[in-house]
Amino acid sequence: MSPSPTVPRPALRHETVLLAVVVLEWLCFHALGPRFGTLENSFDLLRHSAEIGLLALAMTPVILTGGIDLSVGSLLGLCAVLFGKLWRDAGLDPAAAAGCTLVLGALAGGLNATLIAGLRLPPLIVTLGTYSLFRGLAEAITRGADTFTNFPSAFLFLGQERWLGLPTQAWLFAAVAIAVWLLVHRTTFGRACRAQGFAPEGARYAGLPAGRQLAAVYVLSGTIAALAAVIYTARLGQARADAGTGYELLAITAVVLGGTSIFGGRGSVHGTLLGVAALAILNNGLVHARQPREVAGLLTGALLLLALAAGTGPKLWAARRARATPPPSP
């Protein structure tokens, strides 16, 4: 899958473990909920995971560079509101408004990029600041109260209907997923992201355009968050300042569940996609199994630990065994 193994994993590859988990989940819920395996439900799954999935995709290159973007959820809210404003108050048609929103999302990502790549401030603090700032701007623009609704059905098609048999947004999601996968796994850009994540100084000494690279990653993240905002608006048929609250954490959860190292360098886009799938199936399947929502939270925690432990466990066990061999004594 990935072009070449970054590091040979002694035990099972994390993605393999995760794939098994996803299949297992599917079988489990299929047994528990008669309607779980229906096509219709699969479409629901796709539709519901598009936004978080997009944010997780955007987050993957960011984390690969050793950074983090806590502002994506807030930016989704801000972009949803801006989209609403552009459409309703500035009178743009939805397509033009969506285009402008993407540009604004890129600009917002650019703010992160400037502070992180330009001033070399730690991503965690910067995006903690913009996490608050973007949500705050969304609230300030709407005074907290304004809601944008009554979008034309041509626009709602994007979020609620099907195109060529699949939910419309699934096509967009797939396109972004493929693009990000190619970017991360098949281009020098992705390679440079990893280099940067492993050793920022080392990447600079190698003459890589480290600053521009870092900036690009955050701008990309902003743009994808804006796209997620447009899809979110189309799915719900409304835009409000609280859109996407807490989504950054869900996206990060999917990414780390997908095996990307929070310290940078290690990870894969298909891992992230599997992480998104594992969480989405869990959330959806539990409704079909008629379990309360809290159980989804509990199981998410368990899943995180199990998936990771399954990767590390055998390695650890081997290490234990090695230590247990008789000590070198005469």
Binding site: L119, G129, G301, A309
Partner: protein, 307 residues
């Protein structure tokens, strides 16, 4: 001065905020409300100290808010069962320590990444609590509030306890071998191992201590009111981590001071009330808070000489 870079810019931001308050809303400095606010932030300071220890050792703990809620509710239920305060406190501290130790075991013992472990324990405790309690408040028996000390004395006690602990921890971080081991492990775990330090033990210790501090913080919060809200502590981990990183502790470990954490928390805890005092409408608040965080760190970034 090179020795206090980030702390200095945060200190300046705080000073500017306080100056604005002195000029436009001197009412902010009225002693009683200020004491109440300070007492409410005292538990946060302890959680932030724990977060700082964990971060200095190049790990992260985002489960502290959930731990806080679990300990609060359990302490409340025990007190409602009629346990004496000392027993409640002991049990709560033991529980918090155990929760921290569990994180520590998963991170140091099994070698799992701390962000994943604490993300998992965060959702597990939070959702487990919701499942178990279904959001019901716990009503505490009379006499537990302020431990019977009376309000003002109680608030001063809390504040003094938090500051004393901060001072002790800051001194320990500088003058005890164990404190320096935290920095050593955070700076380079392999070098630490070669120097005869056990990185696993140190990491485990940091998480355990953070758990104990969170439990103490939860207790300090519980005795401030006659009811326990099972939602308490929501978002606390983010506030604590924000205070720590704004206060100049490097997220990559090995660097930073608790004095900076205090400054960071003071800045973050002052902004909200300050905006109310300055009559700024609530829907501007998050934007302004974000801008202040960004300014405080950007000032530092712009000043720093390029490496």
């Amino acid at each position: 001065m090179k020795a206090w870079p980030r702390e200095l810019s945060v200190g300046l931001a705080l000073a500017a905020l306080l100056a604005a308050l002195a000029a436009f809303a001197p009412g902010f400095f009225a002693p009683q409300p200020l004491l109440s606010l300070a007492a409410r932030e005292a538990p946060v300071l302890l959680v932030a100290c724990g977060a700082a220890m964990v971060i200095v050792c190049r790990q992260i703990d985002i489960s502290s808010g959930s731990q806080f809620a679990v300990v609060s509710v359990v302490a409340g239920l025990l007190a409602a069962e009629g346990w004496p305060p000392a027993a409640v406190a002991t049990a709560a501290l033991a529980l918090g320590t155990a929760l921290g130790a569990l994180n520590g075991f998963l991170v140091a013992g099994l070698g799992l990444p701390s962000i994943v472990v604490t993300l998992a324990t965060m959702v597990t405790w939070r959702e487990g609590l919701r499942w178990w309690r279904q959001g019901a408040f716990v009503n505490l028996p009379d006499g537990l509030q302020w431990l019977g000390l009376g309000q003002t004395a109680g608030q001063w006690t809390l504040l003094a306890t938090a500051l004393a602990l901060l001072t002790l921890l800051a001194l320990a971080a500088r003058h005890l071998a164990a404190g320096r081991h935290l920095y050593a492990v955070g700076s380079d775990a392999e070098a630490a191992r070669l120097a005869g330090i056990r990185p696993g033990a140190v990491t485990f210790g940091a998480f355990t201590a953070a758990g104990a501090l969170t439990a103490l913080a939860a207790l300090m919060n519980v005795i401030q009111s006659p009811q326990v809200d099972p939602k308490s502590g929501t978002g606390l981990e983010l506030k604590a981590i924000a205070a720590v990183v704004v206060g100049g502790v490097a997220i990559a470990g090995g660097r930073g001071r608790l004095a900076g954490v205090l400054l960071g928390l003071l800045l973050l805890a002052t902004v909200g009330p300050a905006l109310t005092h300055l009559r700024i409408e609530a829907h501007w608040e998050k934007a302004i808070q974000g801008a202040i965080i960004l300014l405080a760190v950007a000032a530092e970034g712009a000043r720093r000489r390029p490496a």
